[in-house]
């Protein structure tokens, strides 16, 4: 069983008061997570003790950096259970990964009249690239709707999946409602028609096991900063057949066999897709973050977070004038709610005044807000340093605010 208070000691941000002298109650982990000391140290040790570029130079410390970089690739490969290290590409984040797949994989494969399916609950990052590409190509963007519970309308999926569909993109977990999707189900249906499926795992990777072979997806991306790692680093998993068939995701140094002025040939494997100097410190920090997660155990993290999420949901539902949005079959540790008569932005400002970091807004999911008929929601999203005491504090301040504002 996880001892969150003890784990919290590993996160230096919590060993201090806010500038207003309050304890920091951080409930915006869906946006980004704080970093344990081991991640911070991995970065500063790299810069202080062995900094260099990776893969191209034969001197110390570059030789050492190259080894350490490769070890993180191995670690990530195991972490997501990819069949091989040749399917794990480092990039700069989820948004970066999605845009690159849209540009490099889908653009040359999409024609007028084709269709792409995404869902009604996507973060803008997993909607706009496909939407804009469809507009550019004269293709159709089909939207898999959600039910009143927030769950995907799986039944509709088979209907949408006609022969013109060339690509399916969906999120593992809704960042706004915390709905957890049945990825295996979607992939199994799409597989029957040989349609590649792209998974945005930004919101699931920190608390739920990712097994790309079990899911059987074609692509999957996530950001380091959402799993206790650094900013500016991300992972793209793609099946080898796609990586080898695609043009490089980014043209730059380190990806070529032979360059001539008018034409070039490119290497195979992940090197093909990692043009330019990667975020080396970011990759090493991500390695430390994954080791940190593994030291606790994904299974333990998952059950702990489910436990406190249930607790939070119950407490919120017990309050008058508070409505938790969505009630999915599988709930991730993210809950959106609204308070009668109080605008989410005002609510969050009052909570923030008490040291509670919580998010108000459309959560980069405007179409979902429209569907829910709210301009915005207040969202809490939990990580392993959160405790039931944090939730009690939230509930207490929600009550104070309610008394004061309404």
């Amino acid at each position: 069983m996880i001892n969150a208070e003890k784990l919290k000691l590993q996160f230096p941000i919590f060993n201090q008061k806010t500038p207003s002298g309050l304890d920091l109650t951080y409930l915006d982990n869906g946006a980004t997570c704080h970093k344990p000391q081991s991640v911070i140290d991995a970065i500063s040790d790299f810069y202080s003790k062995g900094y260099s570029t990776v893969g191209r130079a034969s001197y110390w410390p570059s030789s050492e950096t190259t080894v350490a970089f490769r070890e993180v690739r191995k670690l990530v490969t195991e972490f997501i259970n990819a069949p091989s290290e040749d399917e794990v590409v480092f990039n700069f984040g989820t948004t970066d990964g999605i845009n690159k797949i849209a540009n490099t994989f889908l653009r040359p494969r999409l024609s007028a009249g084709d269709e792409v399916i995404t869902t009604e609950m996507e973060h803008h990052a997993n909607l706009l690239p496909w939407q804009q590409l469809c507009i550019e190509k004269g293709a159709k963007l089909s939207i898999l709707p959600i039910l009143d519970t927030g769950d995907l309308d799986y039944e509709s999926f088979e209907t949408l999946l006609n022969d013109r569909v060339k690509f399916v993109a969906l999120t593992a977990v809704s960042n706004a409602l915390g709905v957890k999707n049945d990825l295996k189900r979607i992939c199994a249906i799409a597989r029957k028609k040989n349609i590649p499926v792209f998974i945005d795992a930004a919101q699931s990777v920190s608390h739920d096991e990712v097994d790309v072979q079990d899911i059987d997806c074609d692509f999957l991306v996530f950001s380091g900063h959402k799993i206790y790692g650094p900013t500016g680093v991300g992972v793209l998993y793609a099946k080898k057949k796609w990586l080898d068939a695609m043009m490089p995701l980014s043209y730059g140094g380190g990806i070529v066999k032979e360059v001539q002025l008018q034409e070039s040939t490119f290497v195979d494997g992940v090197a093909r897709h990692e043009g330019g100097t990667p975020n080396i410190a970011g990759v090493l920090g991500l390695g430390a973050a994954i080791r940190f997660v593994q030291s606790i155990g994904m299974h333990e993290i998952h059950s702990y977070l489910m436990d406190i999420t249930d607790y939070a949901k119950t407490k919120l539902n017990e309050m008058d004038g508070i409505k938790v949005l969505g009630n999915p079959v599988h709930q991730a540790p993210t809950l959106s709610f609204v308070m009668d008569g109080v605008h989410p932005h005002d609510l969050s400002t009052f909570l923030n005044e008490k040291g509670i970091c919580i998010r108000a807004g459309h959560h980069c999911a405007q179409p979902l807000m429209k569907k829910l008929k709210v301009p915005a929601t207040t969202r809490m999203s939990l990580a392993i340093y959160n405790t039931k005491a944090d939730i009690d504090k939230l509930i207490e301040v929600l009550k104070e605010t309610q008394a004061f504002l309404s």
């Binding site: 605008h343 932005h345 400002t349 923030n352 807004g361 405007q366 915005a376 504002l405």
Partner: protein, 142 residues
């Protein structure tokens, strides 16, 4: 944020957000401004009726958070009886009031408590856009 402003924020902003005296559509408006914040969906329509060079009446419709609503209500009140030219320095003062980089204290800028309450936005950069939503639209006019 000093305690006085905090208190003003809590009292005046909430009161002004609930004040319905200047809400509603103005049928014979001479100017209609749209203020929209795509980040949070707050949306107001500001109606101004100019008679001669004086604003005889101003009102607004729309929805949003307490800060944007209160600032739009306060703006509507401030507009009445002034010329557009007279509004210009007031709008500038308001932007200074909410500017966290300002070297002028809020109290040195105004003693109108309705306005002063918005100095709290100096502490909330993200809420500054709420406070200035409608004022920013007006600025384009004056």
């Amino acid at each position: 944020m000093n305690d006085r402003i905090k208190a003003l924020y809590r009292s005046h902003i909430l009161v002004n957000a609930k004040d319905e005296s200047h809400q509603g559509k103005l049928e014979n408006a001479t100017h209609v401004l749209e203020a929209y914040n795509p980040m949070c969906g707050d949306k107001y329509t500001l109606y101004i009726k100019l008679e001669g060079d004086k604003i005889s009446k101003a009102s607004f419709e729309g929805f949003g958070c307490a800060i944007s609503k209160a600032s739009t209500a306060v703006l509507s009140k401030q507009l009445e009886g002034k010329s557009l030219k007279e509004m210009k320095p007031l709008v500038e003062m308001f932007f200074e009031l909410v500017n966290e980089d300002s070297d002028q204290s809020p109290e040195s800028l105004t003693d109108n408590e309705d306005l002063l309450a918005f100095a709290a936005a100096r502490e909330f950069p993200e809420r500054k856009t709420c406070a200035t939503l409608s004022w920013g639209e007006l600025e384009k006019l004056v």
